[in-house]
Every structure is written in C-alpha cells, then in structure tokens.
Amino acid sequence: MNVRAFVTLVRREYWEHRSLLWVPLGVAALLILGTLFGTQMHGGITISLDGDDTEYFSRLATDTIAQRKIFAVWIAGLMLPILIASLFVIFGYLLDCLYAERKDRSILFWRSLPVSDRDTVLAKIFVALVATPVLVWAVSLVTSLVTFLLASLKLGGTPLAPLVIWHGFEWLAIQATLLGNLLVAALWYSPVAAYLMLMSVYAKRSPWVWAALPPVFAITAEKLLFGTRYVAQFLAHRLSGYFEAVNVTVNRPEHGSSADGIARSVDTAHERLSALALLGDVNLWLGVALCAASLVVVMRLRRLRGEA
C-alpha cells in the first residue's frame, strides 16, 4: 500500500464523517468562549474564592513548584472535554463506517477501484485510533495557548495571577504526555473499536442495536443464571479504564477544602497526568491482540458482505 493511496483513504473518511473534525473544533471553541466570558471555569477547575482558596493562592504566589503543578493540571484538563466529546463521535463513526457503504450501495463504487478490503479496514481503524486522537491533541494544544493567553489577560493583577505564569518547559512536557496518553488510550480502546467495526460490517440494519445486544444479553444472562456481575464489571473497566488511570480532575472533597487540602488535590491530579503506567497492564496487550484478530474477521466479512 503506498502512502498517497493511504492518505486518500483517510481523507475520504473525514469527507464522509465531517463531525470527526468539527466536534473537537466546536468543543475547543466553547472552551475558548468559556474562558473569554466565564469567570468560574478554567479547564475543569472550579474556582470560587473563599478563605481557604485565598490562602492557597497567596501561598501559590511564592511556591514555583506548586505553580508548575497547577499549570500542568490546568493545561492537561483542557483536553478532557475535547477528548470525551470526540470519543462519542468516534464511537458513532466506527458503527457507521462499514454499514453506511452497504446501505447506500456505494460499496460497489469503492470496490470497483484498486483498493483492497484490508487497506480500507486499516484506514478506518487508523482514523479512529490514530488520526482523530492526534487531531484532538493538536486542537487541545492550540486551545491551551489561546485560553492561557485569554486567562492571563483576565487574571493578571487579581489574586489568581499565580495561575497564569507561563511555564514553557512544563507546557512542552505536558503536550508530550498528552500525546502519549492518547496513544495509550488508542491501544486500550482498540478492542472496543474493533468490536464496533465488527458490528458495523456484520449488521444488516441497525448496527447500534447489534452492538448493544451482546453485552446486554451477556450481563442479563449472567445476572439471571449466577446472580453475579463479572461481565458488567469487566466491560465497565474496559470502557473507563483509561479514565481510571488518568485523572486530571481536581477532586477537592477527597482532601478537604483547606489550603492544604487544595494543594494535595492538585498534587494528586498531577501525579495522575500520565497514562503510561497502563502499558504495563497485561489486559491492554490482550485487548490489542483481540483487536488485531477481530480486524482480520472484519476484512473477511467486508468481502462476504459485498457479495450480497
């Protein structure tokens, strides 16, 4: 497969599924508008100044290590809404990507050109697991620059001024971490993606229903037969695993709302910025293997489905 053909196959996906582009851009625009007009929200950190907060920020003014930490958490937090919205779009994309072409019969046109089923399937999974996550990353990178600039204009000279001190090295480091996180997330979610593609290529109609039925059936059957919920737990872990590993929300109640508590909350969030640890989880690699096997089936099924 040559590079030009593969790039064309990837572009084709964005022509058809334009929401893969405009949803991350739209959420980024909302974040920027929120920074411009909002006073409360800054990338997932709600700041309402009471006595403890005031004490925290006055300490922050002299503590550069704490400054760097809250800066990193803030910048990293900006990606979260963009990522979550994009995950929903990618989910829908995967269910549609091998179904729509059969529904409108355009599969006959696509298959009349010298493009193999293998390349088609690889381009589609690449869009879901690599191209769109990298796009999310790039959009959040730009968003972080713009929101930082806006926030520094608004917050300079206020008690929150320590928040808007630029830390270039931290910024670069956090962008690298975020890109790494997205690639880890892609590996973690790859079996889910392959499952959705499998349902997309298999379903004669309503791929959404087809995708929902097996897990719902398995969970219900397990509950009725054994009264247990291992399947549900297994699936829940697979769906939320990345967000369990990476937690950039500053969870204040966990540590109390004193100035110390806030500092500890920021520290906790800062410790959980990177998802690299997930690479040591054997479940991630089992999932990747399952994904690869499923994709082979998807390629075969696309050929068979093309016969009907």
Binding site: R105, S106, I107, L108, S112, P114, S116
Partner: protein
C-alpha cells in the same frame, strides 16, 4: 485472433444451495471487442460480472488478464473499470472529492482528462453527488471511468433509469472518445436495441447457461428471418425454425443454420435484428 483477455471455463455459482445462478458457463472474450452480455432478469448476468470482478466466489476456472479474480482482485482492479448502476456513487461525496479520491487510489487515472470531459457537462466541481440529477451522476461516473487507462471496461446496465438523451450521449461518448480497439468493453443490458449498433460480439445467457456466443458479423450467416404467409407457413415450419411469431397477419420465423436461398421460396428473408434473435433464443431455451 488475439489472445482472450477473459477466459471462463465451467463457472458455477449458487446462493444458499438453491438453483445455480451460473450453471457450467464457458466463454472467451478477446481484446478489442465490445461484447454484449444479455439475458432476462435473473439470468445470471450480474453474477457473471461480479465473478469477473472478483466480487464473489464461484467454482470453475476464470482468468481475467491472466489473473484469477478470486485471489488477485486488487491487481485486477488496476486494469478493469466497472460501472454498475450509477446510484452507487455516494450522495455525500463532492465532485471534486470524487476526482481527488480516484486520483489518489488509481495509478492509471488522468485527472486532467476527467476534468476535460466534465467541463463539457453541467456538472459543477463543488456540487455534492446528492445534488446531481441521475443523468449528471452518470456523466460524472463516465468521466471518472474514461480517465482511467484500463484494458477492460465492464458496464452493468449503465443506462438504467436514464432518459433517452443521456442514454444516447452515454454510448456515443463511450464509442467515440473511449473505445480504441486496445480496450475491451463488456456490457450487460436489457435494452438490446440500444447497444445493437455498437456490439462486436454477443453472449446470451438464460437461467445460468450460455445460449448464444457469436460475433455480430457471423450472425447474418447463422440466422435468417423469414417473413411468410399463413399458407406457406407449414412448409417452412418443416425446416425447423427456432422461433415463430405473428406480425400483422404475416408470420415471422427465425432459422438457425439455414441459408437465405433455401428459405427464399417461402417468402421474404432478412437477417434478424438482435432483439428478434434475443426473443427467439430465450423462448427457444424455454421450450
């Protein structure tokens, strides 16, 4: 005679263990020919085309440009172009994107040529295919295909649902601007009259079997149509017509392997039209 570009031997295909859609089909198609594959609905035309294009599995032996379509579909699709129903172009695609796409994936696509062909039509590059009329979609599809330097062009009912004007233009463009005797065109259609003047060979297929495989130039020596009166009909009938029907009080009989001079005694003779021959063969196969 040149080597065949397509060789089919004993092709069989059935879906879900039902009656075979292709039942021991064998034929050769030579380079530089325009071949009409004709048959009634469900005769197996589209199945035969899909087999050639590597879109379905089948039993038997099939070589297309030296490749087995079952295993070498991707190489094959560089040499073969295919238009099924025009409705298969996706509605969301823009005309310019269609050009970008084919240019990106097809090494033998000449984008300038496609744009030149499109410039003669009302198709706008910015338009989405969903906004084009069916005729314009066909023009786009044809422009894409004509810009591909392919050795075989396969057309499956290409003008279905088009009005007369577009149908005529479609075949004229194909013949004048595309066909150059290096290429081979294989076309299936119901509308026998429409393609009659452009074919060099005909393949009639009925219920999965080939019932006629002939060059058009040989048809006049193999088939004769006799127009005779009711009085002389029974004598003529003794010579074994393959088809007989009544037209305006006279009787038209089609004979195979009888000379015109042999039949001239019973009335007027002529070469049957392709449509007459089609009807004769299809009805003959059912008797």
């Amino acid at each position: 005679m040149t080597d065949p570009v397509i060789t089919a031997r004993h092709l069989r295909k059935s879906y879900n263990a039902g009656k075979p859609v292709l039942d021991d089909v064998s034929f050769d198609i030579r380079s530089g020919r325009i071949v009409g594959l004709m048959g009634p609905n469900g005769a197996g035309k589209t199945t035969a085309l899909k087999a050639l294009l590597g879109l379905i599995g089948f039993e038997g032996e099939l070589r297309v440009l030296g490749h087995d379509p079952r295993t070498a579909r991707d190489q094959l699709m560089q040499e073969i172009c295919f238009i099924a129903d025009v409705a298969v172009l996706p509605k969301w695609l823009r005309v310019s994107q269609a050009l970008d796409y084919v240019a990106g994936v097809h090494p033998k696509f000449d984008r300038n040529r496609a744009e030149t062909v499109l410039a003669r039509t009302d198709v706008q590059l910015r338009a989405r295919i969903g906004e084009l009329s069916k005729g314009m979609t066909t023009q786009l599809h044809l422009a894409l295909i004509m810009a591909i330097d392919a050795r075989i062009l396969v057309l499956d009912e290409p003008t279905l649902g088009l009005d007369l004007l577009y149908r005529r233009t479609f075949y004229d463009t194909l013949l004048n601007d595309y066909f150059d005797h290096q290429r081979t065109i294989l076309v299936t259609t119901h509308q026998v009259e429409e393609v009659e003047h452009l074919l060099t060979d005909v393949l009639f297929i009925d219920r999965g079997r080939i019932v006629l495989d002939a060059a058009v130039e040989d048809l006049s020596s193999r088939y004769v149509q006799l127009i005779t009166s009711a009085a002389q009909a029974s004598a003529a009938r003794a010579l074994g017509p393959i088809d007989e029907r009544e037209v305006f009080g006279r009787i038209a009989m089609t004979f195979e392997n009888r000379s015109a001079s042999e039949l001239a005694a019973f009335g007027e003779t002529r070469t049957p039209s392709l449509a007459d021959l089609f009807v004769a063969k299809m009805q003959g196969a059912r008797r």
